[in-house]
Symmetry: C2
Subunit: 373 residues, 2 copies
Amino acid sequence: MRFTVEKTESTARAGKIETDHGVIETPIFMPVGTQGSVKAVEQRELADLGAQIVLGNTYHLYLRPGVEVLKSMGGLHRFMSWERPILTDSGGYQVFSLSDLRQISEEGVTFKSHLDGSCHFFTPDKVVEIQRAIGSDIMMVLDECTPYPCDHNYAKLSNELTVRWAKRCQQAAQKLPAAYGHHQALFGIVQGSTYKDIRAESVKALVALNFEGYAIGGLAVGEPTESMYELAEFTAALLPNEKPRYLMGVGTPENLLECIERGVDMFDCVIPTRNGRNAMLFTRHGRMNITNAQFKTDSNPVDEECECYACRKFSRAYIRHLFQVKEILGLQLASLHNLTLYLWIMKEARRHILSNDFASWKKSILLQLRDGS
Amino acid sequence: MRFTVEKTESTARAGKIETDHGVIETPIFMPVGTQGSVKAVEQRELADLGAQIVLGNTYHLYLRPGVEVLKSMGGLHRFMSWERPILTDSGGYQVFSLSDLRQISEEGVTFKSHLDGSCHFFTPDKVVEIQRAIGSDIMMVLDECTPYPCDHNYAKLSNELTVRWAKRCQQAAQKLPAAYGHHQALFGIVQGSTYKDIRAESVKALVALNFEGYAIGGLAVGEPTESMYELAEFTAALLPNEKPRYLMGVGTPENLLECIERGVDMFDCVIPTRNGRNAMLFTRHGRMNITNAQFKTDSNPVDEECECYACRKFSRAYIRHLFQVKEILGLQLASLHNLTLYLWIMKEARRHILSNDFASWKKSILLQLRDGS
């Protein structure tokens, strides 16, 4: 994997990540395909709308279809028929947010499946092994994602464990080669809750291990948005310039813009698809709940300027109707549209960084996005 | 509307129906888009897979989005962004199958909505008025669809009422012109339950009214399949050669082939989409429940010979996984595939009628479809 910073404007960066499955232009938003499918969106539609990389989830894919199926099908790219890059998180976050009765030790984490209560044990070696079976272009280390709030002592000890696990993941990846002939990068994950001293320690320890990229984890877990911005900025500034920076699980269009400005290159979030399925549509001029009565006979597209299939072909009134009568097509169109809008924002952000007017563009687009003006 | 029989082979017919929204080549299967959407399939996908006409449902569209919305949006074609022909049933069937507390009189039928219990009154005039607001290329008369079994006396009286309603629908259509500048044909519906004498009376009375086409109603309501074939054959034979014949609500691929042979031109049924959403896939070599464990690592497409997106790009194992984890994409791919298979059968049937070897082809394809050989 090769990362190049093409241009910076203050701390904002435009770059490219070259993988064996193609180039990712940053800043990038990665649609979330937890179980090997971006919900309600076809792979050919993802490609059409310009998705350059999608996310898969190690915890979910480990439970279903399972490592043996993934291996026998030649990895996730072939299984889901997606030829572009894939990033997988390590499953750490899901173990801590979805499963029951998790027990953490130096060795790893024992948890019960949220599906059937069956007992499982994730170690650093194990999550690398699973991600080798998945064949993701970017793998993530096993980490403990601390909840918010979290006391300083716990956050410190937890981060130290995360760092030790990161090192073990790296060693495991060195021992267990990639399975499908393409390179799989491994990213470290910075933790430290809301404590700058721990974040700094985390960065220092991880950078010493020389990962191919660094994620900022443990944010967007309930802390105030301003804290999130401050910690993302603080952490990004400590990270090496020559490596990609990935802020996990963030966020709204506004969050993305603020964090691009603060030096983040990569984002993932379920908001565009999940909110879409709940009838919440993002537009260049604010958000709309498409089920509102005001759209009953509104023949305008969701977003005049949007070039997605939903906006080119259908009215707000029709999409509202689809949600009213619970037609699956409503979920499809809303997801398509929101992802298109997200990717448009990222593309524009990149364009403006390259032309050195990101800051002023960001100011105007934020006003538009927030106020619908 | 103009109907031309291009070729017959025994009683099987290949023809074309010319409408203001384009030509429909018969025999034809019409995907069902009850509420203005063929469930889980995009309109551009319907066009791609060769759907020449889709069905809308008067009862459902009347309840939601309602006549005022449809009118203000310029009719169903524009509302749902579908430029090819649309047929709407009259709502009669749904009134009798879905709604509560229906009360039938000479005037029409009073019923309570299955959605909110609100009270509504459908008359022949009313269903024409609704279908004018929808703007379907082919409208259906209001009928009473008798249940199975049904005693001779009730079937006779019911059919006589259906015939009187048919006449009133025709008069209503003459009084109330089409709203959107394109012609809307009106089809009569033959009833008579399982009684040939009543079916014959029904045909005679309706043909005297000179409809632009005739549907065979009241079948596929629980009678033995052999009865359905016999009654379809009997009724089709009585209908005028120069008008299209539409067998409502039928059926499986086998049913379609048998009824094409017996002289039917048009079909609609929820089976391909509904069964698809329940993981039942039709193939050229039999049916499969894609959730079966045998497909866990099956890297073959659902149907080798099928050219749909699901079969070109995905394995049985992946589609099985999508159903296992309840991903919407599973519903999308299964619906796409089943509709593609249905339309392929109709296209092949037509091709073989045109080349005068339908009977022998039908025999071999039926063996394949049934036995998976």
